[in-house]
């Protein structure tokens, strides 16, 4: 799941870029129209992508545009909920979207997706069968192709913290009180506590969820400075927080590369909620073939390696890409082994909501 914390800079960049691009586009259109008014029919195809804030590197998009002679329009969202609400409200004519697994199942149920022709995708064979086996939100991948599998983890400033155990129990350390943050996200934090207590991160048991909330309230929260899903990476990079739960790519983007050796990122040994962000084609897409080509393009080993290298990710979904990667990785694919895929809990969300209120509303 991508995080909004990188969005500020990235969005600004995106806006400036968009402004510049549209200025260039307008100028180009103007030139074309004024010089050769009779050849205006040769319009360029456009692919509309609705994705997490900065989740596909610009270089990959540029390569696709060049090869397919099209223009890619990249719009971004900060959360599944917001993406879903916008598409439900009749959002614009997006072609491809990148929901997490739980939202893939919701969107299939609501009939918002177009089926995917896997036979036409020659790179589908590159997708890790172990990841496909976990896609029970869309059995047989009829509507979605995995884009990235990952999990939130914990970043530690080793220069300040010293020795530590790679466990969620780090948030119970009183000596780090006031220097630690967790995500402002109920499924994440309660999921971590559930995993720590040996329960499923998708538990539907009110008793288990209440016990998880008790652990957070009594053992973890007293040591936390805040719950932060917006600016945790900035705060961590600035040295405000020493131990921060968050997404590796956000921390990677904010952190001064020179300081990387003093930072360690780990996925706790007890596991926690994991996500598979998938590529889907929306039912209303007017460029379904181009959209399918884009999905196939992403799973070219060289392209997938380029994408994951840009964010310090392991190549979790694409097997041949692993041999082609050059960049460093914040965590290894094997670290995700104890994690559990976060699922849509439907009506049971209310139980999480009630438990989360005792954590967030409290005085």
């Amino acid at each position: 799941m991508k995080t909004p914390s990188v969005s500020r800079g990235a969005t600004l960049r995106a806006i400036v870029l968009k402004a510049a691009l549209s200025a260039v586009a307008f100028a180009a259109i103007f030139l074309v129209l004024s010089c050769t008014p009779k050849k205006a029919g040769a319009a360029q195809r456009k692919l509309y992508i609705y994705n997490w804030t900065y989740y596909t590197p610009d270089s990959v998009i540029a390569k696709f545009e060049k090869e397919y002679g099209c223009k890619v329009v990249y719009d971004s969202f900060p959360s599944n909920e917001e993406m879903f609400a916008k598409l439900k409200a009749g959002g614009s004519d997006y072609d491809i979207c990148f929901p997490s697994g739980d939202y893939v199942s919701i969107m299939v149920k609501e009939g918002m997706l177009a089926p995917i022709d896997r036979k036409a995708m020659k790179n589908f064979a590159n997708v890790d069968p172990a990841v496909l086996a976990r896609c029970d939100f869309d059995p047989g991948n009829a509507y979605s192709i995995p884009y990235y599998m990952g999990a939130a983890g914990v970043a530690v400033n080793k220069a300040k913290v010293g020795a530590f155990e790679k466990s969620w129990s780090i948030f119970g350390r009183k000596d780090l009180a006031g220097k630690m943050t967790m995500l402002d996200d109920m499924r994440e934090v309660l999921g971590d506590a559930l995993a720590y207590q040996g329960k499923s991160v998708n538990s539907a048991s009110a008793v288990e969820i209440a016990a998880a909330a008790k652990l957070v309230n009594e053992v973890w929260k007293p040591n936390l400075l805040k719950f932060d899903a917006e600016a945790f990476a900035k705060g961590f990079a600035a040295g405000e927080f020493w131990v921060t739960q968050g997404y590796a790519e956000a921390i990677y983007l904010e952190l001064d590369p020179a300081r990387k050796p003093e930072v360690e990122f780990f996925i706790p040994k007890e596991g926690g909620p994991m996500y598979i962000d998938s590529m889907v084609v929306l039912k209303g897409s007017k460029n379904k073939d181009l959209a399918m080509s884009f999905i196939d393009f992403i799973h070219r080993p060289q392209i997938y390696a380029e994408f994951t290298d840009a964010f310090g990710f392991p190549a979790t979904c694409n097997v041949p890409a692993r041999a082609l990667k050059k960049g460093p990785e914040w965590y290894k694919a094997v670290d995700l082994a104890p994690c559990e895929l976060k699922k849509d809990v439907g009506e049971d969300l209310e139980k999480y909501n009630k438990a989360w209120q005792t954590i967030r509303f409290g005085g």
């Binding site: 609400a85 109920m186 400075l225 805040k226 900035k234 600035a238 509303f361």
Partner: protein, 318 residues
């Protein structure tokens, strides 16, 4: 006879209010009476569930916290804004000073919040100074608590308080202060009994302009606050973006709108009444302006007070 085009001029404003105020309000009212959809949105079934959920004591706790933070921030804002407004009104380069008050608006709201984070942070500007001066060796934790939230709220809404205060102080006839001093009032008494009642409308506007937006604050408690800085604005946003309970978001918004609307009306009405009293006092006594509340005469009476012929009550220095 000339036709009266008056009503025609009101069309742009009415259209604006209709599209950007009345219509959204109607949507919010509507949503608050519907059943929530499992994945956000609403189902077309009438329901009072969202209003029943308002009785949740945890929710009232958040409302109470929001209230005290808003009151504290408003009071501090007013205390800072009064001398600012006064000094601008009295200065010879008003335009320049007003301009300086407006300048921060050129910078994006979020950027200014992040600027405060880099000022107050552990490795921030303020801690750097303190360490350089040798006041502290360890960083002081300024950020991520209620006080930091109040500080940034005050900073953010200060111009909204200064501008109306300046306007009313600028219109004030300063010779009244001299008169009060001539009649024996101390400097402080002349401000309290003559200036303040005369700039009441500016104070009322300043309070409304700061309290109401602060009561709905969202980004500042989110970014500057700590683990327990959750305010109503955050609560409403989370109902839409996280817990998929749009009707509850709508019913809380309704409650906030009604309560702050009611408070504003009561506040305005009470201050109008005060002005009315002052006007009565004025008309009865031929004084040059609404110089004081009629009722104050009794309050400061006694051996040290003297009630002058104009109805001004002044404390005579011993």
């Amino acid at each position: 006879m000339k036709r009266n085009y008056g009503p025609l001029y009101a069309v742009p404003q009415s259209a604006w209010l209709l599209v950007f105020f009345a219509a959204p309000l109607v949507i919010i009212v509507g949503y608050s009476f519907l059943e929530k959809g499992l994945y956000g949105g609403v189902k077309p079934h009438l329901s009072l569930a969202a209003y029943r959920e308002l009785a949740n004591p945890a929710l009232l706790g958040v409302a109470f916290r929001t209230l005290w933070v808003s009151v504290a921030a408003t009071v501090v804002t007013l205390i800072v804004a009064l001398p600012c407004g006064y000094s601008i009104a009295r200065s010879h380069n008003q335009s320049l000073r007003l301009f300086l008050i407006i300048v921060p608006f050129w910078t994006n709201f979020l950027v200014r919040i992040y600027a405060w984070i880099s000022i107050l942070g552990n490795e921030g500007f303020l801690n750097d100074i303190l360490r350089t001066l040798g006041v502290t060796s360890e960083s002081v934790q300024f950020l991520y608590n209620q006080w930091a939230v109040i500080l940034v709220l005050v900073y953010m809404y200060l111009p909204y308080a200064i501008l109306p205060l300046f306007t009313s102080i600028d219109k004030f006839d300063f010779s009244l202060l001299e008169a009060a001093r001539d009649l024996g009032a101390s400097r402080f008494a002349s401000y309290r009994l003559v200036l303040l009642p005369n700039i009441r409308s500016g104070i009322v506007t300043a309070v409304l302009f700061t309290f109401i937006p602060i009561f709905g604050a969202y980004a500042i408690p989110l970014l500057i606050g700590g683990k327990d800085s959750y305010m109503l604005g955050n609560l409403i946003a989370d109902q839409v973006t996280k817990t998929r309970n749009w009707p509850l978001a709508a019913s809380i918004s309704m409650a906030v709108t009604l309560l702050s609307g009611l408070a504003a009306v009561v506040f305005l009405f009470r201050s109008r009444k005060g002005e009315a009293v002052a006007e009565v006092a004025e008309s009865g006594m031929d004084s040059p302006g609404p110089v004081g509340r009629g009722g104050s005469a009794s309050g400061t009476g006694g051996p040290a007070g003297a009630t002058g012929a104009t109805g001004l009550t002044l404390e005579v220095p011993a």
